[in-house]
Symmetry: C2
Subunit: 113 residues, 2 copies
Protein backbone atom coordinates (compact mmCIF):
# COMPACT_ATOMS: atom_id res chain seq x y z
CA UNK A 1 0.00 0.00 0.00
CA UNK A 2 1.06 3.57 -0.46
CA UNK A 3 0.12 6.90 1.12
CA UNK A 4 1.52 10.24 0.04
CA UNK A 5 0.68 13.84 -0.70
CA UNK A 6 -0.70 15.13 -3.96
CA UNK A 7 2.26 17.56 -3.78
CA UNK A 8 4.55 14.60 -4.52
CA UNK A 9 2.92 14.06 -7.93
CA UNK A 10 3.94 16.07 -10.96
CA UNK A 11 1.31 18.24 -12.62
CA UNK A 12 1.17 18.19 -16.41
CA UNK A 13 -0.46 20.77 -18.61
CA UNK A 14 -3.52 19.36 -20.39
CA UNK A 15 -2.69 19.94 -24.05
CA UNK A 16 -5.84 18.38 -25.49
CA UNK A 17 -7.61 20.58 -28.02
CA UNK A 18 -10.41 22.54 -26.39
CA UNK A 19 -8.71 22.72 -22.99
CA UNK A 20 -7.40 25.96 -21.53
CA UNK A 21 -5.41 26.57 -18.35
CA UNK A 22 -5.78 23.05 -16.94
CA UNK A 23 -3.28 20.77 -15.25
CA UNK A 24 -3.64 17.08 -14.41
CA UNK A 25 -1.92 14.87 -11.84
CA UNK A 26 -2.31 11.11 -12.10
CA UNK A 27 -2.44 10.26 -8.39
CA UNK A 28 -3.39 6.59 -8.66
CA UNK A 29 -3.22 4.59 -11.86
CA UNK A 30 -2.09 1.28 -13.31
CA UNK A 31 1.58 2.27 -12.87
CA UNK A 32 1.19 1.80 -9.13
CA UNK A 33 -0.96 -1.29 -9.52
CA UNK A 34 -4.52 0.05 -9.65
CA UNK A 35 -6.49 -2.67 -11.45
CA UNK A 36 -9.83 -1.01 -12.20
CA UNK A 37 -9.91 2.79 -12.03
CA UNK A 38 -7.60 5.79 -11.92
CA UNK A 39 -7.69 8.88 -9.69
CA UNK A 40 -6.63 12.18 -11.25
CA UNK A 41 -6.46 15.68 -9.69
CA UNK A 42 -7.27 18.61 -11.93
CA UNK A 43 -6.52 22.28 -11.37
CA UNK A 44 -8.40 24.66 -13.65
CA UNK A 45 -6.98 28.18 -13.39
CA UNK A 46 -9.04 31.36 -13.54
CA UNK A 47 -10.87 31.52 -16.86
CA UNK A 48 -9.91 27.94 -17.70
CA UNK A 49 -11.94 24.99 -18.91
CA UNK A 50 -11.75 21.39 -20.05
CA UNK A 51 -12.87 20.33 -23.54
CA UNK A 52 -16.59 20.20 -24.28
CA UNK A 53 -16.68 16.59 -25.37
CA UNK A 54 -18.01 13.09 -24.78
CA UNK A 55 -16.53 9.60 -24.56
CA UNK A 56 -17.66 6.11 -23.70
CA UNK A 57 -16.52 6.12 -20.07
CA UNK A 58 -17.88 7.80 -16.99
CA UNK A 59 -16.49 10.47 -14.65
CA UNK A 60 -16.82 10.46 -10.89
CA UNK A 61 -15.83 13.87 -9.56
CA UNK A 62 -15.29 15.44 -6.14
CA UNK A 63 -14.55 19.15 -5.78
CA UNK A 64 -11.69 20.17 -3.50
CA UNK A 65 -11.82 23.94 -3.94
CA UNK A 66 -12.80 26.94 -6.03
CA UNK A 67 -15.98 27.56 -7.97
CA UNK A 68 -16.80 25.77 -11.17
CA UNK A 69 -19.56 24.59 -13.42
CA UNK A 70 -20.37 21.33 -15.14
CA UNK A 71 -21.73 22.20 -18.56
CA UNK A 72 -24.11 19.81 -20.35
CA UNK A 73 -24.93 19.33 -24.03
CA UNK A 74 -27.52 22.14 -23.91
CA UNK A 75 -25.16 24.62 -22.30
CA UNK A 76 -26.82 24.31 -18.90
CA UNK A 77 -24.38 24.83 -16.03
CA UNK A 78 -24.57 22.79 -12.85
CA UNK A 79 -22.72 24.61 -10.05
CA UNK A 80 -19.72 22.94 -8.44
CA UNK A 81 -17.85 24.05 -5.36
CA UNK A 82 -15.96 22.56 -2.40
CA UNK A 83 -17.53 19.31 -1.17
CA UNK A 84 -19.75 18.92 -4.23
CA UNK A 85 -19.57 15.73 -6.25
CA UNK A 86 -20.64 14.97 -9.81
CA UNK A 87 -21.37 11.95 -11.93
CA UNK A 88 -21.11 12.12 -15.71
CA UNK A 89 -22.41 8.93 -17.36
CA UNK A 90 -20.70 7.49 -20.44
CA UNK A 91 -21.49 9.22 -23.76
CA UNK A 92 -22.83 12.48 -22.27
CA UNK A 93 -21.37 15.73 -23.55
CA UNK A 94 -19.75 17.65 -20.69
CA UNK A 95 -17.27 20.36 -19.81
CA UNK A 96 -15.78 21.58 -16.56
CA UNK A 97 -15.02 25.27 -16.27
CA UNK A 98 -13.79 27.68 -13.66
CA UNK A 99 -16.35 30.40 -12.96
CA UNK A 100 -14.58 31.96 -9.95
CA UNK A 101 -11.46 33.94 -9.15
CA UNK A 102 -9.47 31.12 -7.54
CA UNK A 103 -8.24 27.81 -8.88
CA UNK A 104 -11.04 25.30 -9.41
CA UNK A 105 -9.71 21.97 -8.14
CA UNK A 106 -11.32 18.56 -8.37
CA UNK A 107 -10.68 14.85 -8.39
CA UNK A 108 -11.89 12.91 -11.43
CA UNK A 109 -11.91 9.13 -11.35
CA UNK A 110 -12.20 7.09 -14.55
CA UNK A 111 -12.19 3.39 -15.36
CA UNK A 112 -8.97 1.79 -16.58
CA UNK A 113 -9.67 0.21 -19.93
Amino acid sequence: MIAKSEKDVKADEVSEEGASNVTIQWLIDSKIGAPNFAMRRFVVGKGGYTPLHKHDWEHEVFVLGGEGALVDENGNELPLKKDYFAFVPPNEIHQFKNVGDEDFIFLCIIPIK
Copy 2:
Protein backbone atom coordinates in the same frame (compact mmCIF):
# COMPACT_ATOMS: atom_id res chain seq x y z
CA MET B 1 -25.40 13.93 -15.14
CA ILE B 2 -25.71 15.05 -11.58
CA ALA B 3 -23.88 17.52 -9.35
CA LYS B 4 -24.67 18.08 -5.71
CA SER B 5 -23.22 18.59 -2.26
CA GLU B 6 -22.06 15.81 0.03
CA LYS B 7 -24.37 17.51 2.56
CA ASP B 8 -27.32 16.23 0.52
CA VAL B 9 -26.33 12.61 1.18
CA LYS B 10 -27.33 10.82 4.38
CA ALA B 11 -24.55 9.56 6.64
CA ASP B 12 -24.95 6.09 8.11
CA GLU B 13 -23.13 4.72 11.11
CA VAL B 14 -20.73 1.94 10.12
CA SER B 15 -21.92 -0.97 12.25
CA GLU B 16 -19.42 -3.53 10.97
CA GLU B 17 -17.58 -5.38 13.74
CA GLY B 18 -14.23 -3.76 14.46
CA ALA B 19 -15.36 -0.26 13.48
CA SER B 20 -15.74 2.53 16.01
CA ASN B 21 -17.09 6.06 15.54
CA VAL B 22 -17.28 5.95 11.75
CA THR B 23 -19.94 7.16 9.35
CA ILE B 24 -20.27 6.48 5.62
CA GLN B 25 -22.04 8.34 2.82
CA TRP B 26 -22.49 6.62 -0.52
CA LEU B 27 -22.04 9.65 -2.81
CA ILE B 28 -21.93 7.83 -6.16
CA ASP B 29 -22.98 4.22 -6.64
CA SER B 30 -24.97 1.93 -8.88
CA LYS B 31 -28.24 3.46 -7.65
CA ILE B 32 -27.45 6.58 -9.65
CA GLY B 33 -26.08 4.62 -12.58
CA ALA B 34 -22.38 4.25 -11.81
CA PRO B 35 -21.29 1.20 -13.82
CA ASN B 36 -17.81 0.42 -12.48
CA PHE B 37 -16.91 1.98 -9.13
CA ALA B 38 -18.49 3.68 -6.14
CA MET B 39 -17.43 6.83 -4.27
CA ARG B 40 -17.97 6.87 -0.51
CA ARG B 41 -17.17 9.62 2.05
CA PHE B 42 -16.07 8.50 5.50
CA VAL B 43 -15.95 10.54 8.69
CA VAL B 44 -13.94 8.96 11.49
CA GLY B 45 -14.53 10.80 14.77
CA LYS B 46 -11.88 11.41 17.43
CA GLY B 47 -10.54 8.07 18.65
CA GLY B 48 -12.36 6.19 15.89
CA TYR B 49 -11.18 3.57 13.43
CA THR B 50 -12.31 1.25 10.66
CA PRO B 51 -11.94 -2.53 10.96
CA LEU B 52 -8.46 -4.05 10.63
CA HIS B 53 -9.30 -6.41 7.79
CA LYS B 54 -8.68 -7.44 4.20
CA HIS B 55 -10.82 -8.24 1.17
CA ASP B 56 -10.33 -8.99 -2.50
CA TRP B 57 -10.95 -5.46 -3.79
CA GLU B 58 -8.82 -2.33 -3.72
CA HIS B 59 -9.28 1.06 -2.07
CA GLU B 60 -8.43 4.38 -3.64
CA VAL B 61 -8.48 7.07 -0.96
CA PHE B 62 -8.20 10.86 -0.84
CA VAL B 63 -8.06 12.72 2.46
CA LEU B 64 -10.29 15.76 2.87
CA GLY B 65 -9.43 16.74 6.44
CA GLY B 66 -8.13 15.75 9.84
CA GLU B 67 -5.20 13.56 10.76
CA GLY B 68 -5.23 9.83 10.32
CA ALA B 69 -3.15 6.77 9.77
CA LEU B 70 -3.29 3.83 7.41
CA VAL B 71 -2.25 0.76 9.39
CA ASP B 72 -0.73 -2.23 7.63
CA GLU B 73 -0.54 -5.93 8.56
CA ASN B 74 2.58 -5.32 10.69
CA GLY B 75 1.05 -2.44 12.61
CA ASN B 76 3.07 0.16 10.72
CA GLU B 77 1.22 3.47 10.36
CA LEU B 78 1.42 5.55 7.21
CA PRO B 79 0.41 9.15 7.98
CA LEU B 80 -2.62 10.62 6.24
CA LYS B 81 -3.78 14.22 6.26
CA LYS B 82 -5.51 16.73 3.98
CA ASP B 83 -4.50 16.30 0.32
CA TYR B 84 -2.88 12.92 0.90
CA PHE B 85 -4.01 9.95 -1.15
CA ALA B 86 -3.64 6.23 -0.53
CA PHE B 87 -3.86 3.03 -2.52
CA VAL B 88 -4.62 -0.27 -0.78
CA PRO B 89 -4.27 -3.22 -3.18
CA PRO B 90 -6.66 -6.18 -3.00
CA ASN B 91 -5.99 -8.70 -0.21
CA GLU B 92 -3.79 -6.44 1.95
CA ILE B 93 -4.69 -6.07 5.61
CA HIS B 94 -5.44 -2.43 6.43
CA GLN B 95 -7.14 -0.10 8.87
CA PHE B 96 -7.87 3.62 8.84
CA LYS B 97 -7.78 5.40 12.18
CA ASN B 98 -8.09 8.92 13.49
CA VAL B 99 -4.94 10.03 15.29
CA GLY B 100 -5.88 13.69 15.73
CA ASP B 101 -8.37 15.82 17.64
CA GLU B 102 -10.67 16.66 14.72
CA ASP B 103 -12.76 14.49 12.43
CA PHE B 104 -10.66 12.47 9.99
CA ILE B 105 -12.48 12.66 6.66
CA PHE B 106 -11.68 10.84 3.43
CA LEU B 107 -13.10 9.58 0.18
CA CYS B 108 -12.75 5.86 -0.52
CA ILE B 109 -13.54 4.52 -3.98
CA ILE B 110 -14.13 0.82 -4.56
CA PRO B 111 -15.06 -1.30 -7.57
CA ILE B 112 -18.68 -2.30 -8.07
CA LYS B 113 -18.79 -6.08 -8.23
